[in-house]
């Protein structure tokens, strides 16, 4: 995985290392999402810096309320009112073209969304208009973007077939006539009908059973290959995405805590939160005596703690952590953790998953 590299970006020079990649298709720098509320400003994305590498699958993992859905919306400049998005989001359809996403005109933004960067939401049924057939959704999307409808429907059929669905039956149905798995797959097809480069998926499998989750992940892998997609897969379920993603980015309290190659993050997590997260999930078959819930609760977006936002829950917290927010530090090439003590976390938060790492999960889709 030599596609990641330490940056010499000037933005990163003030001692801050930014988790960059070699050929980013999306680049976020100093991105904030804020909501003004009665009791103060709610910062649901806090100074986020990250790259999304072209044609990778990036798994974004976080607890609910960590800001991961906002992160998804930020990628399409689709933060809902009254939220405000600031900072820099750069989209590179090819390595030499920079598009400043937050500076686009309405019509260019309309083109960016769905034609370049598309999104699949949690809860597929609520993503479809209940009184419009699935075909209607495809047609109206094609028309709205001035695509050739007949050609587009051909592509829709192919996509539906790629997703092991019967195109005629699905197109003629209404969302409520389909099962959860079918709806989710139909929604994926809808999100790809304008041939976007990037697919952002926000908890796309949350409402599905385990079997369907896995079959959707394997289909996603096939689609990514076939259509050269870049996928940002957002989930609370680390083990689910660990076997699928090339890289993992762990979110805690509206920021990224750790970013790195998936295998390395799972086997050798450097941030105490990532390790705690890995220990709290049963799916990785870690010994039961080592399994533990993360103590404490997730921070409040209005009143985030001083210093490292994880310090109230962190067993390694020192004075330094309480005062200053830790910058990203390089653990290994391409592997970053925002923690002062990342070198000692392995000892402090131990667990043993050698034989259960993603590589060993070949039976996974």
């Amino acid at each position: 995985m030599a596609r990641t590299d330490i940056s010499d970006d000037p933005m990163a020079s003030s001692q801050t290392t930014v988790p960059t990649t070699t050929d980013p298709i999306l680049e976020l720098r100093g991105v904030d999402v804020t909501f003004d509320m009665d009791r103060g400003q709610s910062r649901v994305i806090d100074d986020v810096n990250i790259d999304v590498q072209r044609q990778e699958i990036l798994g974004v993992v976080g607890e609910s309320g960590s800001g991961k859905s906002m992160f998804a919306s930020a990628l399409l400049d689709a933060v809902v009112n009254p939220g405000t998005l600031s900072g820099e989001v750069t989209y590179r359809p090819d390595p030499d073209t920079d598009i400043d996403v937050l500076d686009l005109s309405d019509s260019d933004l309309k083109r960016l969304r769905w034609e370049e960067i598309s999104m699949v939401f949690q809860g597929a049924q609520s993503s479809f208009n209940p009184t419009l057939s699935v075909r209607g959704h495809f047609t109206e999307t094609l028309k709205a973007h001035d695509y050739d409808v007949a050609e587009g429907l051909e592509r829709a059929r192919e996509l539906l077939e790629d997703l092991y669905l019967d195109p005629d039956r699905i197109l003629d149905s209404y969302a409520h006539e389909l099962s959860g798995g079918m709806q989710q797959r139909a929604l994926i097809a809808l999100s790809l009908v304008l041939e976007p480069n990037v697919l952002v998926m926000d908890e796309p499998t949350a409402a599905l059973d385990l079997l369907m989750q896995r079959s959707i992940l394997s289909l996603l892998n096939e689609l990514q290959d076939k259509y050269d997609l870049t996928v940002v897969f957002i989930t609370h379920d680390l083990p689910l995405v660990a076997g699928l993603a090339d890289r993992l980015a762990v979110m805690y309290a509206f920021q990224f805590a750790e970013v790195g190659p998936a295998r390395e993050v799972v086997l050798d997590a450097a941030h105490p939160y990532t390790r705690a997260l890995l220990r709290s999930v049963p799916n990785l078959d870690i010994p039961l005596e080592e399994m533990q819930a993360i103590e404490g609760s997730a921070p409040d977006p209005v009143d985030a703690p001083e210093g490292c936002s994880y310090h109230p829950r962190c067993p390694l917290a020192t004075e330094e952590c309480r005062i200053e927010d830790p910058p990203f530090e390089t653990v290994e090439t391409g592997h970053y953790a925002a923690c002062y003590h990342h070198e000692s976390t392995a000892k402090a938060v131990p667990f043993d998953i050698e034989d259960h790492a993603p590589e060993a999960t070949e039976e996974w889709p």
Partner: protein, 335 residues
Amino acid sequence: MTSTRYYTKRLGQSVVTVFAVVTLSFVLIRLMPGGPVDYLRAQYIQQNLSPEEVQEKIALYTNIRTDETILEQYVGYMTSLAQFDLGRSIFYDRSVSAILGEAIPWTVLYMSIALCLMFVIGVSLGAFMAYREGSYFDTLSTLTAIVANSVPYYIAAILLVYALGFELSVLPTSGRMNPDTVVGMNVQFVLGVFAHAALPVLSLVVTGFGGKAITMRGNAISELGEDYLRVARLRGLSERRIALRYVARNAILPMYTGMMISIGTMFGGSVILEMIFAYPGVGYYVFKSISARDYPLMMGGFILITVAVVIGVLIADLTYGKLDPRAGGESDEAF
């Protein structure tokens, strides 16, 4: 097929309902103290008619043969009913079907105008309120709508007759056409008809649009909060398409049933209104028949009101599933 079976079943239910209501009215009329037969008999005896003549006249007017058992009478009444023979009006001395048949178009005329206006005004106002939820416009309109909706239409009717009819004399207060005009397709006549319909229409619309507006507002607000609206915007659909094909359509559909039922209840709702405006439509004759103890006409009016409601509900039931795929009922959900 399931849907055919459903239609047949629903149609059967409606026939049974009408049948039951007619039977009930038939029985009730015979249970009423001083029922029509006694009333007629007393009248004819006063006119010094012979008992045979009395019997004959009673039979002619009411389809009731007093010398038969109640069961035979019932069968007889139902048989003539099946031939659309509703008997003869005592008060007007004309066949009930002729009276009602002539009155129906007038009631339908102003009622459909009123229902259309009520619906159009209510729906558009409600949609605007939803789009400006929380604004002064919304608050003010909600207040107006609630106040207007709480006024009974007959109170509004009396106030309107007083204000627009007597005080300002801008609209006629009674009748259904201008007596000086020639009946037919000429401007004077048509204008007269609309002028006479204006006050009844106005009283219904003023007191009726508020309810529709508030329902529409609520439906539209919940539509506006739906996830699929957000997805539709991200997919690049125009605000116009979203407003019409998403918000408006999905918010109006649940109101469709109510709309069909109000069409069904238009004759029932016309009784007091037509009395106030002395507007000779169905309600006017029903009211007259009650005060004049004109039982055959009363019976005919009741049957008409019942049948209209039953048909309205039936149409609503049978067509709603076609319009709103969410209401598929027996949908073949696949897993």
